[in-house]
Amino acid sequence: MAHSLPFQSLTQVADQLAAGQVSSVELTQAVIDQTQAVEDRVNAFISTDSVDALAQAAAADQRRAVGELLGPLDGVPIALKDVIAVRDQPLTAGSKMLEKFVSPYDATVTTKLKDAGAVLWGRANCDEFAMGSSTENSAFKTTANPYDLSRVPGGSSGGSAAALAAGEAIATLGSDTGGSIRQPAAFCNVVGLKPTYGLISRYGLAAYASSLDQIGSFTRTVEDAAIMLGAIAGHDDRDSTSFKTPIPDYRAALAEKKGPWKLGIPKEYFGEGLDPEVGAAVEKAIAFYREQGCEIKEVSLPHTEYCLSTYYIIATAEASSNLARYDGVRYTHRSADAKTVEDVYFKSRAEGFGAEVKRRIILGTYVLSSGYYDAYYLRAQKVRTLIRQDFLNAYQKVDAVLTPTTPTPAFKIGETADPLAMYLQDIYTVSVNLAGLPGISIPAGFSEAGLPIGLQLIGQPYQEADLLAIANTYDSTHDWNSRLPEL
């Protein structure tokens, strides 16, 4: 590939930075220039700070000058979804509630990226508090899909996906609670990795649903995803749900792990509602794997039809509690019209939250309320156990499960107004969060209309090295990512 700097892969720019062929300031400036050129149409970022980014780049160049390179991320501009805390920088979570909030602390992933020398650049737009599948729920702007500006980039990490696709960063971070990394990755022709729950610290990630949320990356290639994961994975004693497990060299594993793999095809993911073009692209990918000597097996995930219901009960219940802290008292928007403490709560939350957040808080409050807990929340927790068991049963027979990432390619902005229809967007992705598994979406072709299509691979808990190797088998031999958006 001989793309211009902002469209090169992390691996490519890291090599050039290491070889001194390009400086971090040059690279960062190129990304800033590209952002300025396209941002009025893409609207990927809620805020940017060029001066700060160039200062970080200059510091990276100084390290290089004295031979103290910190690794492949040193000097590389990376954008963060605006739900991840960066000290002394705004953190809005796409909400009016946090419009003026400046974080006094760093998220653990932020610290890790800083330690790796990354140039933190741009706060990517997202659905408010990561609730949505289109990024239309942001209080600030609607991000457009770079491959078709009339369409959504997916969500909730739509800004992160669109920014990468439009050359506004070399890699980005997002968060995935029910598909919020994988679905926008599929819509924007990039690689989106949601690691196993607990592999990456959630400390500093504004919570949507604590037992489902996981930070992950958007990159141009699977190899880039391996580099990013190596930088941000690892146990954190500030997150009680973070898992103690050795972190392998994911990038090296790509070369070491050759397969052949046993891949499971769950029949429940290929039924009604799957767009024929998406289905065809996935079938082609299955055929490719078969040609590579992989064993393709049909597997059954019998509780698939209950995943969405289970997800919406658990996610909204946790959200109703997680978002109670945004109350107008300590650091959020406070209604100018608040005369009593009750006003502070009722009016600030009415003004500060958007419609989708209100809907989910209402639903979550309801399913936890007295008299309904057993019927909804407790039952959903039990079904969650069954959903996880389905996958564990499948993994007795296969190394990974292969599915479409989304039922359809990107839809039109403003097209999906009905909440239930929007929730159905997550139909192939939520199960992965409920089971806590690692999932990756990789580019797998385009529709006739030129819209990207994603392929989802679902791995075994904490076996990201295997999952990435399986994904890389396809990704390293296809060049969908070289088809850039026409902006």
Partner: protein
């Protein structure tokens, strides 16, 4: 299957501390009613003898040793406060 569940929007909005306009109440009730109808399908699942999952992967006894560390200064703690006085957060008078 049971009848369509009832969502008392006034009571739930009260619990959630969100002031809703009559239009919002009507809209959300209708939309969430649809969602709840969909969710009713969970009643079909046989969950007898199944343990609930509160976590993706439950590990036991995750804790830290009791060693005090420095926190935020009062200034940093209050830097985003909508109203403050005497290094404290100010709210309209609370009457219990």
């Amino acid at each position: 299957m049971s009848e369509t569940p009832e969502l008392n929007i006034d009571r739930v909005a009260e619990l959630a501390r969100i002031a809703l306009t009559p239009a919002e109440k009507a809209e959300y009730s209708a939309q969430l009613g649809e969602v709840l109808k969909h969710i009713e399908q969970l009643k079909q699942v046989d969950v007898s003898g199944v343990e609930p999952s509160a976590h993706a992967f439950a590990v036991e006894n995750v804790w830290a040793d009791d060693v005090a560390q420095a926190g935020l200064t009062a200034e940093a703690a209050l830097q985003n406060a909508p109203a403050q006085r005497d290094n404290m957060i100010a709210v309209p008078k609370v009457v219990e």
